[in-house]
Symmetry: D2
Subunit: 397 residues, 4 copies
């Protein structure tokens, strides 16, 4: 029987060419798999037909938007996942979602190999291949751009020579990856890190500097998950989508940073993630209200490791599962309402209320009703600072 | 010889009353010490004279603004210190500065005790007393508000009965602590955490929602310290002051959060720190450019602990010194320029350049000149993911 | 109705006197509760009758040995809990067990207060009171030794004046706390930390220096819990007891250390914990075999925090529950056999086998059958070290 | 001019063959460099001559024993470096020492490449190559065993065909790496991890089970470094050597573990490190006496990362330098005497004394002279446990 290769198919030039290229390089049949994680653009059925027209023996499409939101974006939200304190892991979250579908397709179609369109200097190749090797250690991985030197120019030549039904016009200056949780943009002129981004780079967000009316939103969480917006019940996917629209309209969620890639280099990245940033900001503040101090302090260490691990492509790893055990437990009481003002590029929390709140008005107030026994503090301070005081007695001596 | 008590004196009602109150409670003479950490307000000489008029046997004032900026704010900047990822430690940084002057005055005047005006439910009592016990383990500490039940009403009655030269009009609804690094506000109606702050609360910052022209600034750092703004050399103090003005005019640096106090309760806090937030934002991005990845990752853990420790009042502790050893080493190469746009409440980095940069255009670019050897990646990915793959082989089995 | 106080009762002089002392100080009725956590010594029924004879209105005893082993010692084993890398938390584990019974008794007997016999400078007062306030925030706590200045001499005088049925002979030079997980000894001559312990101090362990035959044991674990010894099924309690006997007979588990107490001082402690040390040693090595590297590395950080938290008396805290979420997940595959030699004070692992093993002979071997593809290493090394190499290019420049 | 390759030369069969093998593969001249890190065995001059006889154009030898002890072993001691809580990094410490000499030789002899004899599945290849790329990013690295498939059999054939002056008898069953800090042994029958090591495996240590007289030693430290043994001043090298002898004679320092290699596999390792284990044990206990609690707690996290980083071959990395900044600061007061009993495979601390001690007899004692104010504890406990208590009030509700 002829070998089969499952290809992560986007419908664009590169992966359309990959279909024939892989076939020529390996002699295998190519099964194209396109996964909808909210990237927008063309209809899935059109993409499916293009894959077949480009030579795929089978083509499958999957609407994974709810799965992506529920099983990948939500854990990230619970971990307040911001790589380098900034980046909400947009692409890093979609890759394991796609991997799961690729592996399922490989099993279904008896494929021995999975292929993807990534280059050899980015993070996504690692996320694809480490993911696949953890879900299906027996499958091989190939990356034609990296392994078979399938450059852009050669891809265009291939497409033209084979009359592939795909536009081979001059490439956009932007290299874009997007899904419902956000959008990543790389482009040549931003490789000079002294250059600022121009408005043309953005698509999910309006210019935050333009005057407009502020938008106020109330997000309701249950155990760390958004469950209602302004009182209307929502799925996680709907919460992200609505906040992408509303926060995006206010210019919230633009990120411009120099980032440490897993492959050891620093790169300049522009992201837009209006919904993600609004949700994480709200979630963090609700944690401030509902999570006990020592748990909150240690959770920052766990959250940081969670973000690094997922950025590094180790979603399907034993450490990830154990960190989730911690994070889920820590989110058990993260329930309540957060009111935010979305305006001028900022998502600002202005109110929070929760029946799981650990904020105790009577302990906190300086007015009538204060129940805090201040006489306890003297003993606390003396003993809290004692080890340091004893050391000082030596060090000053 | 009569015992002497050194009192941290602000010039306000509470500490003015403390002078006589302490004298009555303890029989000691009171030496008043006022320290200028950039809180603004009255002239120091006026404050000095008021202390004497209120009964102090000696009164000293010190301009510690440069010392505060250089020795306390700068280390915080190097550690990107943001307690709970938000609060730049405004009051927590000023307390050790003041403590140092109090202890020096106690030594000079032969005092056995130091007094401060804090209540028994806040963080500052700990910062004062833990600081004093670490610089002078032999000194005693008293806090009349906490230890002698010196309530506001009783203080007013005392001031009036003694004809103290200090206004006893109705208290402002705001409890404020401010210095050059920022401003903290507490007030009754914000003790309901569902209430949003009103414009009246703010003083260091303009309303970010009002339309105005953006301001672009270039901050130059050397080894983590700001040394020039727009090309003009500045001291750390001048950098903070200028950015307070310029970022404050754009509404940058407002913070509204529920915070975990050291004494175990949660409290609602409003802060303004335009200069601090602008500087930390710029410093973080310059670290992204100049600090190697593994150092940057571990530094987040160190920075978090640094912030907690200083928030908790342990500035003069052995752990603080050792963390500084790490942080200083990590900042050695954090030199270069950061260009920021200050506008609409946001301080956004748009450019960075540095002769210490680890960003390598030739490794990062996808255009001509790419020197990254993509063929190395396959081996990297395979071995990087191997331990996870082996575990998967077991766990899926 | 008369107030009731539940007293943690040991049967010894101090807590026997506490019964009457508390009654006199507070006017309350005292309910004595003795909890068997494997401390050995007198029969529980004798203890119960003594409490009544000393004036308790009610006396309860509970055999909590299995509960202690299963719910307190086992989680510690899963976390390899060694405070300061040495101390297996013997007393720190028994306190929450006892607290649970005290609170249950308080509820049953309508008591408003719980009393314990600890001094005011140790860790156990914190463990009792923080535990009680977390299980029953409404209950008050009293500690007669600390709060009512019930010194040893005054206790003896009280016992004699009331003819209490308890020996008031000269106190043993040793202050001992023991349970099935180990034994803690403090004594005056060891307060000079240059003095070495003498043989007389020990009770759970034989002198390791004496010649004897080695003992070989095979411990079987399932998901981190010991389930068989030498093939015979055991409960956790039986595993600890058998290893106390067998490892104790070989002098295993003696610990002599200077320790950081929660109250800020350093103290000299002697412990014996033969079963605990043998089990933790075996468990650690089985983790080496069955836990993936990145999970194992992060688990060390979690384990350390777990140990500190429990040492500090915060067993019933939100952070503890979340850490347990991580630790339980990490122990899921810690199953298999560990063979140890117990001899001369050492518990040495000599073999391990597990169907959950991640040790892969074919990848590890240098002999025939090697399946490791060495050609992958070059790419791995180059990219693994790239960020450091780029930094070197700058730093050496 | 002919290219030159600097080869890390041991004098054994593999690296002797490498000289000619590299020359044939690359056409380059080979410069052999042997570095004495205390591995014992042949005289360096004999090794030097053999290199020349095997075809090296130049041969250099360096006595780096003091440098190794002072600059590599001592930092490890200060960090209590034990990878996976067990392994004192014996080989991981020698590699950067050797790398430094290789790079110096490459500069001196104008070589463009450095070669080593490691296989492609161990840690040492990473330590060599990551080290070289950090000290000399321009140098290339080659590993004939890995890169040119120089198997043992082919090496023997090569040696015989060229009449190299080196024995090609049947290989020892043991693969050994040793230096003054310890000795590592791998061997086929231990690749079955259920097999226990046999006595024949060991060389630095006597059988701990044999009866003998105990040895008592007093080690004096200054700022974390051993400076005297039994009152006689020693260098770090002398301290390690003397304790290798004395602790080795008592069977101290044998380690048998399954270890996580950097290349993703688990391997079985046997180590002997009598001096290292004795010194680390003493150093840890002196830290217990002289390091403040919070510093000690955080230092465990730093020490763990230090050990992982050095194990992983990143000695010459920015993070390593910053961690050293912390570790050196933390060791500033680690001065004093530790008395240990070496016997039966155990190095047991029995006494410690230090004028930098933070152990305060008067605070610790329960006898006359107690200066600890127990009345402070009630306030401490209440506030220390308050955040947990508030959470309990919610969670139990």
């Amino acid at each position: 029987m002829t070998e089969r290769v499952v290809l992560a198919y986007s419908g664009g030039l590169d992966t359309s060419v990959c279909i024939g290229w892989i076939a020529e390089e390996t002699g295998a049949e190519v099964v194209a798999v396109a996964v909808d994680v909210g990237q927008g653009g063309e209809d899935l059925e059109i993409i499916r037909k293009r894959a077949l027209a480009c030579g795929a023996v089978e083509a499958e499409v999957a609407d994974a938007r709810d799965e992506f939101a529920q099983e990948y974006c939500l854990p990230a939200l619970k971990a307040n996942a911001l790589y380098m304190d900034r980046y909400p892991l947009v692409s890093a979250l979609s890759r394991p979602t796609i991997v799961k579908h690729l592996v399922a397709a490989a099993r279904k179609h008896g494929a021995s190999t999975v292929a993807h369109g990534c280059t050899g200097k980015g993070n996504d190749q690692v996320r694809f291949e480490a993911g696949i090797s953890s879900l299906a250690p027996d499958l091989k991985c190939i990356a034609p751009v990296r392994d078979y030197a399938m450059t852009r120019d050669r891809a265009i030549a291939f497409a033209e020579s084979k009359n592939l039904p795909i536009a081979t016009t001059k490439k956009s200056p932007y290299s874009i990856d997007q899904n419902v949780f956000g959008r990543a943009v790389e482009t040549g002129f931003l490789e000079d890190i002294w250059n600022g981004p121009i408005e043309d780079v953005y698509s999910y967000t309006q210019n935050p500097a333009e005057p407009r009316e502020a938008d106020e939103v109330v997000i309701t969480f249950e155990a760390g998950a958004p469950v209602a917006i302004d009182g209307r019940p929502v799925t996680v996917l709907q919460a992200i989508e609505e906040l992408n629209r509303r926060a995006g309209a206010q210019g919230v969620g633009r990120i411009d940073m120099v980032e440490d890639r897993l492959v050891g280099i620093k790169s300049r990245e522009i992201y837009e993630a209006p919904g993600a940033i609004a949700l994480i900001t709200a979630h963090q503040e609700l944690e401030n209200v509902t999570v006990e101090r020592e748990l909150a302090r240690f959770k920052r260490t766990v959250d940081q490791r969670w973000g690094e691990l997922v950025y590094d492509g180790l979603w399907f790893s034993p450490l990830k599962r154990a960190l989730d055990g911690f994070v889920d437990q820590a989110n058990q009481h993260v329930s309540g309402d957060v009111r935010m003002t979305l305006h001028g590029g900022r998502a600002v929390v202005t109110g929070r209320r929760s029946d799981q709140s650990l904020y105790d008005f009577n302990l906190a107030t300086y007015d009538t009703g204060d129940t805090f026994d201040q006489s306890l503090s003297k003993g606390f301070i003396e003993i809290f600072g004692l080890s340091s005081k004893i050391a000082a007695g030596r060090d000053l001596g």
